[in-house]
């Protein structure tokens, strides 16, 4: 530990530590218990602070920033209500393994535990939803906690960390400071050596006649896209990704079979049933993908993960490699042989031909799938796309083909409505030159709608694609299919005029309702670099297919063409 000669306040030290780590942007909201820190932030020339409208917005922005740049996302809140407003985002980041540092103000140490004004035991509250958290009791401890927090957030399987920072500690002077080598840049941290036998691991793949690679969000965190592509091409193996893994392998690649799972493609889910070898690369056998132990029933199963606790957690596997995905694939690649997999690839081609993603585009109404395909064409697949949660999320996952990693931002594990808009804002701050589109629904949009102000305030060019079905569409879909059309509390009997609302924030808006307006709509919304909202009215009864009903497995997949069978 090295000491600076000059003593500075805890608040000042926090700002300096953030600067040294390379933090350029933070998302936050001030309040009494964090004021000394904000006062120091006022003087910082290196850190830009984005004032949000709700702390939930701040943390989702940090998530969008982190996911799209690979860097640490930082958010700040005051004590009590400010801190508790971060809870959903922390949980979200935990489930999707996003590196986030949350700094919360806390009442002074002498008041802690007395039910003081705006006191909440945020340390206790966030234990189960953070990867690490700490209450900084003395300014002398700050540097140590900070280092620990950043390393834990960024290292291994990333995740959210929280530092609770009492007001008096922000004011307390300290000269204790660790020599800082911390960086928030991607892959700065040492990766543990890969454990397991790469050769044996590769042999199992070599022996397979019908191999399938199953790629998860870990591939994005590990920046392993190039390695995955090399592996797939060398082994001549088709690739399916999870919702979180979209973009880790090009969706347009001939070996891609798209997404698997509850709303994955029929061909991906059928490939899972038919493969004789499945290689899980940084996915976690999530229950929306692998419902039962008989997942990939005819396959030898292999798993690469950086988190040892994931092995055999839900699904037992035959081969394990423990370590960073990028490194692990590099180790197995030399042992991988080509092999003739022509008949398997042909089999996949015919699955794709016979079970395509499908929807009925006759009639005058606008189909969201159609609209998304056109947005894909218009943006040439170059946009960063965030979504909220519901049908629109699944349509976006299905119909916008992701070719590049870090371009798909969605709440996969927690399914957080309200995520989309702030995540898009965070992504735009991190990628000012890219087109950033938030695909949302009329329900989700209203959960963090106040962040429109944050867009306006920063004159940010975020594109909002709002699919309005005047319903909580996904809820409606389930009620229609499994609750005999009892639409209990899923219909909006009041929705605001979204176009006027956007305009009230200085964001141009347009509503379209008929197919004839699609071109005009796409053009309007993507025409320049500024922000815009397009409200697309879609039929309430439009559904997401394919679908594996909840609690069922791959065998029970329902395709668009089976719809008749569902309704007796």
């Amino acid at each position: 530990m090295s000491s600076t000669t000059e003593a500075i306040t805890g608040g000042r030290l926090m700002v300096e530590l953030l600067e040294e780590a390379g933090v350029e942007i933070v998302f936050g909201y001030p309040g009494g218990a964090i004021l000394p820190f904000y006062d120091e932030l006022y003087h910082s020339k290196k850190i830009k602070h984005i004032l949000v409208r709700h702390e939930q917005g701040a943390i989702h922005m940090a998530e969008g920033y982190a996911r799209s740049t690979g860097k640490l996302g930082v958010c700040i809140a005051t004590s009590g209500p400010g801190a508790t407003n971060l809870i959903t985002g922390l949980t979200d980041a935990k489930l999707d393994s996003i590196p986030i540092l949350a700094i919360t103000g806390q009442v002074s140490t002498d008041a802690i535990g007395t039910d003081a004004f705006q006191e909440a035991d945020i340390f206790g509250i966030t234990i189960p939803i953070t990867k690490y958290n700490a209450l900084i009791k003395k300014a002398d401890d700050l540097s140590r906690h900070f280092e620990e927090a950043i390393k834990i957030a960024m290292g291994g399987r990333p995740g959210p960390v929280l530092l609770d920072f009492p007001k008096d500690v922000q004011l307390e002077k300290t000269s204790v400071r660790k020599a800082s080598s911390l960086k928030i840049a991607p892959h700065h941290y040492e990766r543990p050596k890969v454990k397991g036998d790469p050769q044996e691991f590769a042999e199992a793949l070599n022996q397979a006649k019908r191999p399938l690679l199953y790629v998860g969000g870990g591939a994005i965190n590990s920046f392993a896209s190039a390695e995955i592509k090399a592996l797939a091409e060398k082994a001549n193996a088709p690739v399916t990704t999870t919702l979180m893994g979209l973009g880790a392998f090009p969706g347009t690649h001939p070996l891609s079979v798209g997404m698997l799972g509850m709303h994955g493609t029929a061909y991906a889910n059928k490939a899972v049933l038919e493969c004789d070898y499945i290689l899980n690369l940084g996915a976690r056998f999530d229950d929306r993908v692998a419902k039962y132990q008989d997942f990939a029933p005819n396959a030898v199963r292999a798993h690469v993960d950086i988190d040892a606790a994931e092995f055999n957690k839900r699904i037992n596997v035959d081969y394990i490699l423990h370590g960073d995905l990028k490194d692990a694939i590099r180790e197995i690649l030399p042992f991988v042989k080509g092999g003739d997999r022509t008949s398997w690839i042909e089999n996949i081609q015919s699955l794709k031909k016979n079970h395509p993603l499908d929807f009925d585009n006759s009639g005058d109404s606008i189909k969201p799938q159609d609209f998304l395909q056109r947005v894909y064409a218009k943006t040439k697949g170059e946009a960063i796309v965030s979504t909220d949660v519901g049908q629109h999320q699944m349509w976006a996952a299905q119909y916008y083909l992701f070719d590049k990693p870090n371009t798909w931002l969605t709440s996969g594990g927690l399914g957080t409505m309200g995520y989309g808009l702030p995540a898009a804002i965070g992504a735009k701050f991190g990628n000012p030159d890219k087109t950033v589109i938030c695909v949302t629904g009329d329900g989700s949009f209203q959960m963090c709608i106040q962040e429109l102000a944050t867009i306006a305030q920063s004159k940010l060019g975020v594109k909002i694609l709002l699919f309005n079905n005047n319903f909580l569409g996904m809820v409606r879909q389930w009620q229609e299919l499994f609750y005999e059309e009892r639409f209990s509390e899923s219909q909006w009997t009041y929705n605001p005029n979204f176009v006027k609302l956007a305009e009230a924030y200085g964001i141009p808006g347009m509503r379209i309702e008929h197919k004839s307006e699609i071109e005009k709509g796409v053009e309007f919304f993507l025409k320049d670099s500024g922000s815009a909202l397009i409200e697309v009215m879609i039929p309430a009864e439009e559904k997401v297919f394919p679908m594996i009903p909840a609690g069922k497995s791959q065998q029970d997949l329902i395709e668009f063409k089976d719809l008749g069978k569902l309704k007796k």
Partner: protein, 162 residues
Amino acid sequence: MKHTLSILVNNHPGVMSHVSGLFTRRGYNIDSIAVGVTDNVDVSSMTIVLNGDDFIVGQVKNQLLKLPDVLKVQDMAYASSVQRELVLISFSITETNRSEALTICNGFDVKILEMTEDSLLIEFSGNSRQVTNVISVIKPFGIREISRTGQIAIAYRNQNSV
């Protein structure tokens, strides 16, 4: 099946909540938990007894190892470790059953800490089965107060000594 986990953790505030929270989150019941600092003041040792099959215990172990403050987790097989628990019992006696009580105490290697006209305060240590046994023998006298520490355990160095 009962498992005894011996866990070394950093001696920081909040670590206990982190560890026990892991069990609550999964709905696993802790049968007993005993914590104390080791010879190193920065390190505490926790002994946790839980009921569960090997899969559950394996999961718990994996999750525990993910906590930054957890240094080591050991699943203690009953046969290769010594397991002890301490119990303090205060119970009623009468003139007529006093000598019977004292005989029982002698037979079980129980330490008598206090004797009054109508009560005995005793201390006993042994494995959890022995402790439970002593409690059941004392019970008919009328237990006034009882306090158990929860089990602690340590592995034998020589795995043949049982």
